[in-house]
Amino acid sequence: MAIKDYLRQRFFPHIWCPGCGHGIVLSSLLHAVEELGLAKNDIVMTSGIGCSARISGYVDFHSLHTLHGRALAFATGVKLAKPALNLLVPMGDGDALAIGGNHFIHAARRNINITAIVMNNRIYGMTGGQFSPLSGCGKRATTAPFLTIDQEFDVVKLAKAAGASFVARSTTYHAKESTLYLKKAIMHKGFSVVEILSQCPTHYGRKNKEGDAPDMLELYKDTTAKLGSKALEKNPDLIPRGIFVEEERGEYCEEYDKLVDKAMGGAR
């Protein structure tokens, strides 16, 4: 199937600002789905609220546009009711880790077979540029005219500590890499987290003097490095990209089936 066939073009033009990274993430994701040859009918995408969440309107999968922060909890219900479906959950940083932080760690802890995509632009875009739990210290936002004093989460470390069995990070500059990680994440049996740094030139970029979209993409190129690369060895301050966790561990739906078998004494 061609990439275009996975899009609901009747919903276009999309709402994203020119230069927004979210379109690049969408493209990486559609390439992953296409390269894996997944049928539209086998994919369910649940999303929350925010610029990122609009993705679920644009893809021609089964989609459930839910509440701010709760997409993973809805996805948990869908997955347990029909484990054969592929669950894709794109989330923004505020969506995934502020209001939805609790669902994030608990989905990871259960190791349920869902692919969570954290589109991290370090800001609440849709409401107009308030800082998020991923903004970090010393940043400017509409809610931080005197700069932030709040520490940030590291999505990779958090996902790892909470029990996700597949964890990767990429950026919108590295769109092909993103596709590769997303493919692996979708095929992985267990809870997978792919963090993709995605620029918001409208709010984060403008407020923090990071320039326009091409400048911000350049910044992703210059401030990140592949795991195991010489660059990272030389400069540990660079943000590592790559696959951080890829482990086989009991998946929740399968464990649940085993439990049912046991409870029924094999009478099923």
């Binding site: 509440l67 701010h68 922060g69 409401t127 931080a144």
Partner: protein, 387 residues
């Protein structure tokens, strides 16, 4: 007193800031906030006002935002937050808590349609969902009223005879984002209107327990006390209006705002900005010789039953306009009005502006014509497509 050209969102934030600063000789000001359209501007305004003995926690959700307000208020700080629609729904559990703990937190709600389907425009369904929790509830019609209501809500909520949270509701966008000139008192005037907050059960004085387990009769008597405090509100509000007039040299609006109602045979009842449109329509129809008036319900809780009853003395026909729908019933306001309107009056319900539909003068003229053509009231009318 000075003049400001300001949006209603900012007017609410400014009133809260001045009220917060007025508690600087007490335990200060502390808020929890979380962004949501169309209330975001208000919390952003608050975040840009770093003031003496004041802190704004940019919380991780509306639920936590209200939790911060509760903690701060229990510790004796003045507190404020702002939200809308699903943010309010998510906050609801703590809206129950703050009322149950009898803490005088003030909240601005920029009324917005509850999703799904997702929609960011004005609808009163969000705040009405929390009508019965034990909050004072106000609905505003213009920027000055938003400022005055937030300021006086502190005075009312913190009165020892009242002591409960207050919700100030403003129509999303229609009012929240409209910029208008308002009169703003200086800090000294606010200081004399709003004495430092004293919460009798505040933490950090003598050790005591808040929010413990109670058996049925204890719950019932606490609910009774809360209900009785609600009935005390009208008398306290009268006094506050007097003091407001003395200090600010202008009037604080009444709980219900009648307009050309003395001899009116037909009355339009509404809440929020539709009330302002109704006044315009009354003028227009009066010129054509209709005996018509309008009544705007500003205070919904406690419910000013007597004032409404009194205002409807001469009315024969009443059109109740609801920007909400209680599914399986009809308009929420209509339900309330029906409990007090005398049987000889024709009370007809029109649900207009649901999901943010723009309610214009000609829609109200149509409603008046419709109500005047009726012999008796019928089922509530849902106005789906406002052209």
């Amino acid at each position: 007193m000075g003049l400001e050209l300001i949006s209603a969102n900012h007017a609410a934030g400014l009133a809260a800031t001045l009220a917060g600063r007025a508690n600087r000789i007490g335990r200060g000001f502390c808020c929890g906030v979380y962004p949501i359209t169309p209330a975001t501007d208000c919390m952003e305004f608050l975040c840009s006002q770093e003031i003496e003995k004041s802190k704004v926690v940019r919380a991780e959700s509306e639920h936590s935002a209200m939790a911060v307000c509760i903690g701060a208020s229990a510790a004796g700080a003045r507190s404020f937050t702002a939200t809308s629609a699903n943010g309010l729904a998510y906050m609801a559990e703590n809206c129950v808590t703050v009322a149950g703990l009898r803490l005088p937190v003030v909240m601005m709600v920029a009324n917005r349609t509850m999703g799904p389907p997702w929609n960011i425009w004005a609808d009163h369904g969000d705040s009405l969902m929390l009508r019965d929790l034990g909050w004072l509830q106000f609905y505003c019609a213009d920027n000055q009223e938003v400022f005055d209501t937030v300021l006086s809500a502190y005075r009312l909520a913190e009165d020892q005879r009242v002591m409960m949270p207050a919700m100030v509701c403003i129509d999303g966008f229609t009012l929240s984002h409209t910029i208008a000139q308002i009169e703003v008192p200086n800090q000294q005037e606010v200081d004399s209107f709003l004495p430092p907050l004293h919460i009798p059960h505040q933490l950090g004085s003598t050790p005591h327990a808040l929010g413990q387990i109670e058996v049925a009769h204890q719950v019932a008597s606490h609910r009774k006390q809360h209900h009785e405090a609600m009935t005390a509100v009208f008398e306290v509000y009268d006094q506050i209006q007097q003091e407001f007039r003395d200090i600010m040299q202008r009037d604080l609006a009444d709980p219900v705002v009648p307009y050309r109602i003395e001899d009116a045979e037909t009355v339009i009842i509404s809440m929020g900005t539709i009330g302002a449109t109704a006044e315009q329509v009354v003028d227009q129809l009066r010129e054509e010789g209709h005996k018509i008036g309008a009544l705007r319900i500003r205070m919904l809780r406690p419910f000013p039953a007597e004032l409404i009853h009194e205002s409807l003395r001469s009315a024969r026909r009443v059109a109740v306009i609801d920007r909400d729908i209680s599914l399986g019933f009809g308009g929420v306001l209509w339900g309330e009005i029906r409990t007090i309107a005398a049987r000889d009056k024709l009370v007809q319900n029109y649900m207009a502006g649901i999901g943010g539909g723009d309610v214009r003068p000609h829609h109200l003229v149509g409603i008046v014509k419709d109500v005047c053509s009726r012999e008796q009231a019928a089922e509530p009318v849902i106005m789906e497509d406002l052209q």
